[in-house]
Symmetry: C2
Subunit: 252 residues, 2 copies
């Protein structure tokens, strides 16, 4: 059976859980608690050498990177398609996935790290923090933890917000033309944008007045949230820890 | 017939030309001269709304983004495969493509922009430069042109060089395990890394002593360069303009 190493509030984990549930696939869920830094444990590093979630174990083949995992699921389990079967449609989906991965995800993530990982990182004592840093394999991730601890700069946060505005406007314009983000089919691009931005952009950035600026995006989000697989994927998420509440914007 | 809008020295264009030639596909090549800023002409913006190369026109369907185009070519013309047919192999290839697109391409490109577009941008008169900026649809691209004109900061260039070192070491380690970057098959990941970094990293960054540091990468590069399709793709490139010589490191 497929094993998914996941941390429920992680946006990348969510992307894969939604895809698995949409396809009606059975899978074993193994929680890797990022707030306890379990992703840096030596046992987990044997599964994912960079210490990140999610990782998918399909009969011993380990796949990582959520976008890559979701295309893999399409290749192996095409029965419930989340990628258009015609090549032009697949290309449109991949174009959007790349846009979301390269120009959306990191910018929302920076605000999330600033609010959530910042709290976790500042609660770690000196000495222990340096030891944790030694266990993080990717230099970029080490840099991100250190920045989260000291706080991201206003300039970087403002730049990230501008990029998010650019993205929501782009999606809004697209939804004026097609029912879903990559065309008239529901695809992995919808799951990607929903998980990284669409589901929480209004809560995380009330000052952007998304409902007024992007009514189509809000209607699309409601349509997403109403999907049984999406609802099931979100149900397991723990939003009780203070850092997570800050991240997701949930009051409790 | 497939039409490819291309600018020979552009690394993204090169990626697609190599894939087309490897597959033995006939295509019409339409040069879009970036040094004359033809990619921002209104006629071209009708084809590619963001004013970038390459763009592929397959019987009226326009596809852009070089990684997306190359997967599209796989979907439509699978006879000469450049993507493994088994899903695990395809996932490995996509993992590397994402790594190259997100963590290699931009960093080499920054040095290229610093050396090449910087020269072009500084040769444009005030007033005319601002007019050009108005014609650039993507905010990120406008920012990049402005930075190229004033010069990238030492800190950013140093950071980019560190990322390039990380990437060449990662590829070197992989080539100790497999014949090609994504496994034992030649794939789009090899074409991607070659076009964006492998073919010119030694010439562009002599101070990194790549030959000493990464002998496997150098042997792999020679194997790539010897492929008839790669040689044909490179033959058409104009390296006579001073800016381009600076970019590619060619003496003439």
């Amino acid at each position: 059976m497929i094993k998914l190493y996941t941390f429920p509030p992680s946006t990348n984990s969510r992307k894969v859980r939604i895809a698995l549930l949409e396809k009606g696939l059975e899978f074993q869920r193994i929680n890797v608690d990022l707030s306890k830094r379990e992703q840096k444990n030596p046992e987990y590093l044997k599964i994912h050498p960079f210490g990140q979630v999610p990782a998918l174990d399909d009969e011993g083949f380990i796949i990582y990177d959520s976008t890559v995992i979701n295309e893999y699921l399409e290749d192996v389990f095409p029965d419930v398609p989340l990628r258009p079967r015609n090549p032009v449609g697949a290309a449109r989906m991949r174009y959007w996935n790349k846009f979301i991965d390269e120009h959306v995800m990191n910018h929302v993530s920076m605000h999330g790290w600033h609010r959530m990982i910042g709290i976790i990182a500042r609660n770690i004592e000196n000495g222990e923090f340096e030891k944790l840093m030694e266990r993080i394999p990717l230099p970029d991730q080490r840099k991100k933890w250190k920045t989260a601890r000291s706080g991201f700069s206003e300039a970087d946060l403002t730049n990230a917000t501008e990029k998010i505005l650019y993205a929501v406007d782009k999606v809004e314009a697209q939804l004026a033309k097609t029912a879903w983000i990559a065309g008239d089919d529901y695809t992995l691009a919808d799951i990607n944008f929903y998980s990284h931005c669409g589901m929480m952009v209004e809560r995380m950035f009330p000052e952007l007045e998304i409902a007024k600026r992007c009514p189509r995006l809000v209607a699309w989000r409601e349509k997403m949230t109403a999907r049984p697989a999406v609802a099931r994927a979100l149900r397991g998420e723990d939003r009780t820890a203070p850092g997570l509440r800050t991240w997701t914007g949930h009051a409790r």
